[in-house]
Point group: C2
Chain length 212, copies 2
């Protein structure tokens, strides 16, 4: 294993503010392929994230082989509905979900993820390393935003994990942290509705609001 110090790629010249403040979850993706050079930039960006003691436990499996993305898509859809069942939601078909619910769009992704040009699965090769994997996933998604590639961070469900590991030959001791479908968006990037930071931030003690 060898380490490198890379210069920032010119393709990531978008301002940090623009990238972060317009990073919408993109769930409606075009099937158009993502050039390999762009995929490499995303993975380079992921590799630069902070991680505990520079142990660099994060590993990324970028799936683009059509048959494997299709097979994964089936498992993803099953996992998505298993999560809704666990939550006690009364829906059994996408059409049951209120049109204005964020779940409606998420259910569409569950149906369509099999058409995504790339799905990236993120793992940690040591246990309990979410702190050293999730920041890298955010780097990957911010870099995707800069390249005009849509993404969203999603998870799976215990019901399908064994089959997902078997599908890709993932060793048992490796820990799964989430998956990111990638594709050029059918929608547009834009400002995200979020709570004001004055409602999510406390100063010096819990519940003590900031001065802004």
């Amino acid at each position: 294993m060898s380490e490198v110090r890379l210069d920032p790629p010119l393709e990531l010249s978008l301002s940090l503010g623009e990238a972060m403040f317009t990073q919408r979850a993109m769930r409606r993706l075009k099937p158009d392929p993502i050039p390999e050079s762009q995929l490499e930039i995303l993975l380079n960006a992921a590799s630069k994230a902070p991680n505990g003691g520079n142990m660099q436990p994060a590993r990324f499996l970028a799936v683009r082989d059509r048959a494997r993305v299709e097979a994964f898509g089936e498992l993803y859809r099953e996992a998505w509905w298993a999560k809704r069942r666990d939550e006690g939601r009364p829906w059994t078909r996408r059409e049951d979900i209120p049109a204005d619910s964020v779940f409606r769009m998420a259910a569409l992704l569950a149906d369509e993820i099999r058409h995504a040009p790339v799905v990236v699965l993120a793992f940690g090769i040591y246990p309990g390393m979410g702190h050293s994997v999730l920041p890298a996933m955010q780097n990957l998604m911010l870099a995707a935003r800069a390249l005009g590639i849509g993404s969203t961070l999603t998870t799976l469900h215990p019901q399908v994990m064994e089959r997902v590991y078997a599908l890709f030959g993932v060793p048992e001791k490796v820990e799964f942290h989430g998956c990111i479908p990638l594709g050029y968006p059918r929608g547009r990037f834009g400002p995200t509705p979020r709570l004001k930071s004055s409602e999510t931030t406390y100063i010096d003690a819990w519940s003590q609001p900031p001065p802004w």
Copy 2:
């Protein structure tokens, strides 16, 4: 609670690539205070991160009251050494640690964190929401990089958690995800040594290397 769509702040005009590729962990911090306007930008950036179903469970406690930072610093140092003990490290004082070890610098931070102008603690108000808190922590640290503020993502140890919660009045059901000391760096930002992404990325199946 009210949601807002914010424009990207001009202060975050650094390119995404530069921010991500020069985001070193900064453990040697100056005690100089961080202006409130800069702190607000960091927390606004954190609030824009992706999160599951836009439930926005992340909460940030920015500690800058000197007495509380000092008290937290004592607990942080105890936690840091408790982690080393759990790992079976033979060190009991900072001077025992090899000078070229990343732990040497981390031990320095454990001694000095009580002088940091701000320490941000990150929580999730629902259980098991690391996916919706850690990307926000990475946003906060990238924004800090853009403002020339040093940071590093650190954790605590079960041995001190009850006292940390008591110190800040954090409700028991709230989950702690990590802490980020902030301050102007005594060192310089620069490229980080990381594994090549060709060594951390697989294509279509585990262990199958990418073409780059």
